[in-house]
């Protein structure tokens, strides 16, 4: 074979394999990992949670028919928002805890990291997938809750209007206003956002724990403890800062809890919002910022630990 014969082949080869410049950071790579994570999680049938939520709503609505409309709306809001909080927290912990061990077990992780994908992008893509799933789930649950509340409100409004058909118009208007006031309250929206931010925080923390955990069971057990201790953090912090605790061991324990754990009580605002307490923009913004701060820090720590992990 002469040089003349091989020339076009070489030319063709060179044209198709010019190495494109590899970027250190790529949104499209993260997006690919995110969408893949979301698809994987969807295949785990996590959306069945919504079915349970729906049944809970319908069941409680039927059960509450014996109460007055104020009691009914109060319980409906409490149960629905409590269920949203519980399901999102559970989903955040369980879905994230399974993520890394599953990828290692299926060897998907090695396939991805063998390509020019930095570990940072892998972790960010994974967490973004879970956060997207949480956002969709929260949105769907919130929509179902608002729909049920609206339907119950309309039913009570119609029943009241027909019962008071012979009453003076101002009395009817007062009664209808009272019903509307006890149903949907716009403050519930920031309350649901705070629930979502709490779930994001738990996701990032679970991811961080799973980077050094040996199994998903260990991560879940650890996170259950963290969840309870996190809700006690505010009490521990106050006791530590105000020097209520006596003895070196007690004070050291309080200090560890106060320093190392997030204050999860800060994100439990929805109980008081349902009770009629208005949330100011300043308080909402500060609470949300605290949640975002935790989420970012725990994600960065997860990335840092993941870089040192032997795979």
């Amino acid at each position: 074979m002469t040089n003349k014969d091989t020339a076009p082949t070489l030319q063709h080869f060179n044209a198709s394999t010019v190495p494109t410049c590899h970027r250190a950071f790529s949104f499209s790579r993260i997006l690919a990992i995110t969408s893949n994570t979301l698809t994987e999680l969807s295949r785990l049938k996590v959306f069945y949670v919504l079915l349970v939520f729906g049944l809970l709503l319908i069941g409680s609505s039927i059960f509450m028919a014996q109460f007055s409309f104020q009691q009914e709306f109060q319980i409906l809001k409490d149960v629905s928002l409590g269920a949203i909080s519980m399901f999102t927290s559970l989903l955040a912990i369980v879905a994230t805890a399974r993520m890394l061990p599953r990828d290692i077990e299926d060897r998907t992780l090695y396939t991805i990291l063998a390509k020019p994908v930095p570990r940072f992008e892998y972790v960010v893509g994974k967490i973004a997938g879970v956060l997207l799933l949480l956002a969709i789930t929260t949105l769907l649950m919130a929509a179902a809750f608002v729909a049920v509340l609206y339907m119950r409100e309309q039913a009570v409004l119609h029943a009241t209007a027909s019962q008071m058909s012979s009453a003076p118009p101002d009395q009817v208007a007062d009664a209808l206003r009272a019903i509307r006031a006890s149903a949907f309250n716009i403050n519930i929206v920031p309350g649901i956002l705070i629930i979502f931010i709490k779930a994001c925080l738990l996701t990032a923390l679970t991811l961080f724990v799973s980077t050094f955990a040996t199994s998903s069971v260990f991560t879940i057990v650890m996170m259950v403890f963290v969840y309870f201790i996190g809700h006690l953090e505010a009490t521990a912090r106050e006791y530590w800062l105000h020097e209520y605790g006596s003895g070196l061991i007690t004070r050291s324990f309080l200090a560890i809890v106060a320093l190392l754990f997030p204050d999860l009580q800060a994100f439990n605002l929805v109980d008081d919002i349902v009770a009629g307490t208005a949330i100011s923009l300043a308080v909402f913004a500060r609470t949300a910022l605290l949640g975002v701060f935790y989420t970012v820090i725990y994600t960065l720590l997860a990335v840092f630990v993941f870089y040192g992990k032997e795979l």
Binding site: Q74, D78, F228, A278, S280
Partner: protein
């Protein structure tokens, strides 16, 4: 190992940075009536271990609702003692829910008190009356504690005014609480009127009551309700006001 130490150091530094932020946020939350309950041994004893853990994990509203449903069942079985206990737990868990304070007070002062008065197992009337008054006091206690926890909401002031009026027949205190409710931002339009009505029943305060009713009357047609005119006419007669100072209405306007 180095990586683990770095992570530990970052967590501690982050902890030190977040402490003042969290303390400040907690103070702001309390100032705006969030985080209204203290998680302590007293609450733990009241709720039991499971209830306490659930409340601690951010599900105190659900625990309170479960207890409320139990209280409803206890009401159907007329177990007043159990109801009292349950409502104490409910209001401890959800001190900002007016509905719970109001329902607890209503059950005690209206339902349990009537049941005590009609108790067929207690032949002595003196003891039945004593029990009845104890339930009035329990209802009053719920409302007073509810007001302490929610001083900015008019509903419980109105409920306490009703209790003083209907159960204690204390028109002066009833008027006082209606007047307090009327000063709050979301007060019902009738609070001022009701306060003046109650005052009109108080011996020795007829002049003051008449002046308040008169000022309402002078506000226009909207306030000139049959009861208001009736009470004004009664006070005009009682105070012996000259004809030229009296209102000219002879019969209540048709509405």
């Amino acid at each position: 190992m180095t990586r683990a130490l770095i992570v530990a150091a970052v967590l501690v530094v982050m902890g030190l940075l977040k402490l003042p932020v969290e303390s400040d946020l907690a103070a702001r939350h309390r100032a705006e009536h969030f985080r209204g309950i203290e998680f302590n041994l007293d609450l733990r004893e009241k709720l039991g271990q499971l209830g306490f853990m659930a409340a601690l994990s951010g599900f105190r509203s659900i625990v309170a609702d479960a207890l409320f449903i139990q209280a409803h069942a206890a009401w159907e079985d007329t177990e007043w003692g159990r109801m009292l206990l349950l409502f104490r737990h409910i209001t401890t868990l959800q001190p900002r829910v007016l509905l719970f304070w109001d329902t607890a007070a209503w059950h005690m002062a209206w339902n349990a008190s009537v049941a005590a008065m009609n108790d067929a197992n207690e032949p002595r009337q003196a003891l039945r009356v004593k029990a009845q008054r104890e339930y009035f006091a329990l209802g009053k206690d719920f409302l007073e504690r509810g007001i302490k926890n929610n001083p900015d909401r008019p509903e419980l002031y109105e409920a306490l005014a009703r209790l003083y009026k209907e159960k204690y027949k204390d028109h002066e205190r009833a008027g006082e609480y209606y007047a307090k409710a009327a000063t709050l931002p979301e007060a019902a339009p009738w609070d001022r009127r009701f306060s003046a009505y109650e005052l009109s029943y108080c011996e020795g305060r007829e002049r003051e009551a008449y002046e308040r009713l008169r000022s309402l009357y002078d506000e226009g047609e909207k306030e000139r309700l049959p009861t208001l005119i009736k009470r004004m006419k009664f006070l005009e007669d009682k105070l012996g006001l000259p004809q030229e100072q009296r209102i000219i209405e002879t019969e209540p306007p048709k509405r």
